[in-house]
């Protein structure tokens, strides 16, 4: 009595402390840099930073679909008006504003410092004569109605040059004065919220407001689509939430029902959950002591691995069929075998701790602590929660009978299974690297629909992500900008030689201070300009007075303070500028996205390193692929070392190397066969998620193999041990099988891998036995 009370008290204190630690010290983050190796190069770090903050998270892309296009345009205009009047947005851009949009205004008012074509001849008498002569001829053409609008302020046409350089909004199709997709089936609207994108709740309200406003419009057959970093994040979060909620309810229900049938005692069913839950809490507390920020993925994967702890209660409870012996006594019988299984699994997981990736280390730590806690909880605490002489009825007799018959015959399959394993092994070796899925895009948890909408809208708006860029790294902002200007000149040559279609550069919007000064120097004084201008106007019949705005603009530009990012604050350019020019890790980075590359080698030749500045070429897809491949290779290395260590420990525990080999053989064979099965029946390509799931499979496989070999040695334990194995297997298959119903690719993957793997473990574990299994004859 006393010891039980003491045990329970100890347990609750332990849990309380753990929860306290978690709540106070642990902070869940989504910082992907945790999955970077500790010695990552600057290039790799920038890459991850770009992946995370690919674009300003305040951007919302809106599309309105339907027919006819006039109605779609009208709906767009009305929506834009309401949104402009609301307090949520700093930018509402649908193309209507034309030259009045913030981007155009900023580019126009700074044209003299941005234009690349200004020379010392631009404002001389000869220069002005040439330009004004052309302008006069332009008045006689068909487009004069448009071109003469800017004539009084910008006769030398600098604004046009600046726009050409940008190539931005100009690329978007327009219909009825509004942005439209190229096929004219969708009108577009660009929004930038005042609220920062990291506050998902606030962003969620804004998105609801947009939807509500749209629904209030009097158009019945038009559809609204939204995308953008926060929209995607919120949609993904909601999908995962509802998916997870549905699945957890389904899985829990299935598991509970099955366990109830298996144990016919609701109390026992509840007790089954306790070791795992305690394990997860302990694991998180352990992490809380080790670090202060944990990635959500760590918890997810870690919890998956702790799924091995599902076994322990099964085995323990299956022992409870002898009336008269205390629960504790009965647990003790199989404790040695279970402990051996636990230790080998822990060794397997500890391979993760020896990697040099923070993320993997955390997963390893989490699962080890969790597993140890789970098994100890099952061994010590569960008996304290049961009455001393608790027994359970035998259940599932017909199922046991059926499967016993099958299991008895399994060893006969051994030769066939060997062949299968060898064949699968050959297939894997033959396929080599092709078995891996390296495309990061395919790994993302985004649903296909969300991705499709985002791609469509981005393409319409000419805002596609460019996978390839040249990156300038320098120690100061001005150094970076100057190097960028030199690089831009080289890239201009590449564009005219058609080596690349286009590129973007921060210096098109923000020239270096040096360049700005040079351009200002080239601008004439007011008097000199007037003299040149008026002397030319004697022969070209423009009215003098109309050029007053031109003269005052030049004068202003000559004396203006240097241009900074502030000029673009509330425009789309400000947006782009943020991810083309930024400070990182003590350096200043200028990123030049490249579009339509026709010759990679020539681009590579532009990379350089000289006096403190570096120019790097980054191919996002290639780099992330490489990063993933590095992980994988490391993971496989660790896996192999882990297997050897496991073999070692098993041999000691079982006091026989041969036994050790046999026990290890089953799970390893399962891994090989499972991989091949997944390749051909799964969504194609093995990923990190598969590997982690396989760790779980191996853990369970060792468990099954150990217990089957125990059955070989002590056949009289059939009635207690076999049901345990059965229940463990069925519970795992049911729970992870229900994951395959998820809409998230990641969960589907894990579910499929574990469910199929565990089944194979059962088959292989039973057949790869030294002594024949003699099942109880029912």
């Amino acid at each position: 009595m006393k010891s039980r009370a003491a045990t329970l008290l100890g347990y609750f204190i332990f849990v309380a402390v753990a929860v306290y630690l978690i709540l106070n010290n642990l902070h869940i983050t989504s910082d992907m840099s945790l999955f970077l190796p500790d010695g990552a190069s600057t290039k790799q770090k920038i890459l991850i930073q770009q992946l995370q903050n690919g674009s300003d998270s305040r951007l919302i892309l809106v599309g309105i679909e339907g027919e006819p296009s006039e109605e779609v345009a009208e709906a767009n205009r009305e929506l834009a008006n309401v949104l402009l009047d609301s307090p949520y947005f700093s930018v509402v851009h649908n193309g209507e504003q034309g030259l009045d949009s913030p981007e155009m205004k900023a580019l126009f008012s700074n044209r003299y410092v941005l234009s690349p074509q200004i020379s010392d001849q631009s404002f001389s008498r000869e220069g002005l004569e040439k330009v004004l002569h052309a302008q006069f001829n332009e008045m006689a053409t068909s487009t004069s109605v448009v071109s003469k609008r800017l004539l009084p302020q910008d006769p030398t046409g600098e604004f046009l040059e600046v726009i050409k350089q940008w190539g931005g909004v100009d690329r978007i199709t327009k219909l009825h004065g509004i942005f439209f997709s190229a096929e004219h089936d969708r009108s577009l609207l660009l929004l930038k919220t005042k609220q920062s994108g990291t506050d998902l709740e606030a962003q969620s309200k804004v998105i609801d407001f947009i939807q509500y406003t749209f629904n209030q419009l009097p158009y019945n057959n038009l559809k609204l689509i939204l995308s953008g970093p926060t929209v995607i994040a919120i949609n993904t979060r909601n999908e995962i939430r509802s998916d997870t909620k549905q699945l957890s309810i389904a899985a829990s229900l299935i598991a509970t029902v099955f366990l109830f049938i298996a144990f016919s005692s609701l109390y026992v069913v509840i007790l089954c959950a306790i070791p795992i839950i305690t394990g997860v809490i302990a694991g998180m507390a352990g992490l809380a002591l080790y670090t202060d920020s944990v990635h959500g993925i760590t918890i997810a994967f870690g919890s998956t691995l702790i799924g091995i702890a599902v076994d322990y209660p099964m085995h323990f409870f299956s022992q409870l069929n002898r009336f008269g012996t205390s629960v504790r006594e009965q647990f003790k019988k199989i404790w040695t075998t279970l402990r051996l299984g636990m230790i080998t699994t822990i060794i397997g997981f500890s391979a993760l701790i020896f990697s040099d990736y923070q993320g993997l280390i955390q997963i390893g730590l989490f699962s080890i602590i969790g597993l140890v806690t789970a098994s100890l909880t099952a061994y010590w605490v569960l008996p304290a929660m049961l009455p001393t002489n608790f027994t359970l009825r035998t259940t599932l007799v017909s199922l046991q009978r059926l499967l016993s018959t099958i299991v008895r015959r399994l060893p006969k399959l051994r030769p066939a299974l060997f062949v299968i394993v060898l064949a699968c092994g050959f297939i894997l070796i033959y396929q080599g690297d092709k078995i891996w899925q390296d495309d990061l895009a395919k790994l993302s948890p985004l649903s296909a629909e969300i991705k499709a909408i985002d791609n469509r809208l981005r393409k319409d708006l000419g805002a596609e992500f460019s996978g390839q860029s040249l990156i300038v790294i320098a120690s100061s902002k001005q150094q970076a900008l100057q190097r960028s200007e030199a690089l831009s000149r080289q890239l201009d040559v590449l564009v005219s030689d058609q080596v690349i279609d286009n590129y973007a550069s921060a210096t098109h919007f923000l020239p270096s201070l040096e360049t700005q000064k040079q351009r200002q120097l080239l601008l004439p004084e007011a008097q000199e300009l007037k003299n040149n201008l008026y002397s030319v106007l004697r022969y070209i019949p423009f009215r003098r007075a109309i050029f007053d705005p031109f003269i005052s603009d030049i004068t202003k530009a000559k004396l203006a303070a240097p241009l900074s990012e502030a000029a673009y604050a509330d425009s789309l350019i400000g947006d782009r500028l943020q991810n083309m020019l930024f400070e990182f890790d003590g350096h200043w980075i200028v990123r030049h996205p490249l579009y339509g590359i026709n010759d990679n080698k020539l681009i590579q030749s532009l990379t350089s390193e000289s006096d403190g500045t570096e120019v790097l070429y980054v191919d996002t897809k290639l780099e992330t692929g490489r990063l993933l491949a590095t992980y994988r290779d490391r993971a496989i290395q660790l896996f192999l070392w882990g297997s050897l260590a496991i073999l070692f420990v098993l041999s000691i525990g079982l006091r026989s190397i041969v036994d050790g080999v046999i026990v290890v053989a089953a799970p390893l064979s399962v891994v090989v066969v499972n991989c091949v099965l997944l390749l051909y029946f799964g969504p194609g390509g093995l990923t990190l998620f598969h590997l982690i799931s396989l760790l779980l499979v191996v853990g369970l496989g060792i468990d099954y193999a150990l217990f089957f070999s125990r059955l070989g040695k002590y056949p009289d334990e059939w009635l207690t041990t076999f049901p345990a194995l059965l229940k463990s297997w069925l519970t795992t298959v049911l729970v992870f099988g229900s994951l395959t119903l998820s809409n998230t690719a990641v969960l589907q993957t894990i579910g499929l891998t574990v469910a199929s793997g565990v089944t194979l473990c059962f088959i292989f574990g039973a057949s790869f036995q030294r002594s024949t299994l003699v099942p109880h004859r029912f």
Binding site: N137, V145, H176
Partner: protein, 201 residues
């Protein structure tokens, strides 16, 4: 004795009336917009010479443009200016092709009408008039007609709703006779003006 006078007067009056009858002018046919549009729509193709005079607040002298016009129903119109600039402005459906020739070298640009809404009203206005498409015309303009089939005057005022056109164009006045357009005057909102005189070939 019977009175012979009234009989003779009555016959004379009748004679006079009968003589005068053919000399009465034809009753002016009711000339409606529909009539005019119908007449215009019958024209399959036409070629003409034009002289355009542009005046603007920006310049001290007016600009004179000379060239050729060519029309093919229902939506192909070519304006080829020869002086002072060699420019061929072709409208084909919704595509505009502008070809400028300077010193023997020709540079061509294609624009879709949808992209430059500011050009639409003028272009579509002319096209619709030539094709006699009253619906298209009314889509962008308030239309009023004066005169008769020998000398008519169409006045087109852009709708207030089409924002970009109202900014630029105040009104377009087209004058012609029967199915021949003789004069097109475009008054811009800023006071600039273009007057084109057309002679059919």
């Amino acid at each position: 004795m019977s009175n012979p006078m009234p009989f003779i007067c009555y016959r004379n009056v009748l004679l006079i009336v009968m003589l005068l009858l053919p000399l009465q002018p034809q009753a002016a046919e009711p000339f409606s917009l529909g009539e005019l549009m119908h007449q215009l729509s019958l024209v399959e193709q036409s070629e003409a010479r034009f002289t355009e005079t542009r005046t603007s607040g920006l310049i001290t002298k007016s600009i004179r443009i000379k060239g050729k016009l060519s029309y093919r129903a229902p939506d192909q119109l070519i304006k080829h200016s020869l002086q002072p600039v060699d420019e061929r402005f072709e409208i084909n459906g919704d595509t505009i092709t502008i070809a400028r020739t300077v010193k023997g070298k020709t540079k061509e640009r294609k624009i879709s009408l949808a992209r430059y809404p500011s050009l639409s009203p003028i272009v579509l206005g002319l096209r619709a008039t030539l094709a006699g498409d009253i619906e298209l015309l009314r889509k962008y303009y308030t239309v009023s007609l004066e005169g008769n089939q020998y000398g008519w005057k169409l006045e087109l005022i852009p709708h207030a709703s089409s924002k970009s056109s109202k900014d630029l164009i105040k009104e377009i006045i087209i004058q012609g006779s029967k199915s021949e357009i003789r004069r097109v005057q475009i008054n811009e909102a800023n006071g600039d003006q273009s007057v084109m005189r057309i002679t059919r070939l």
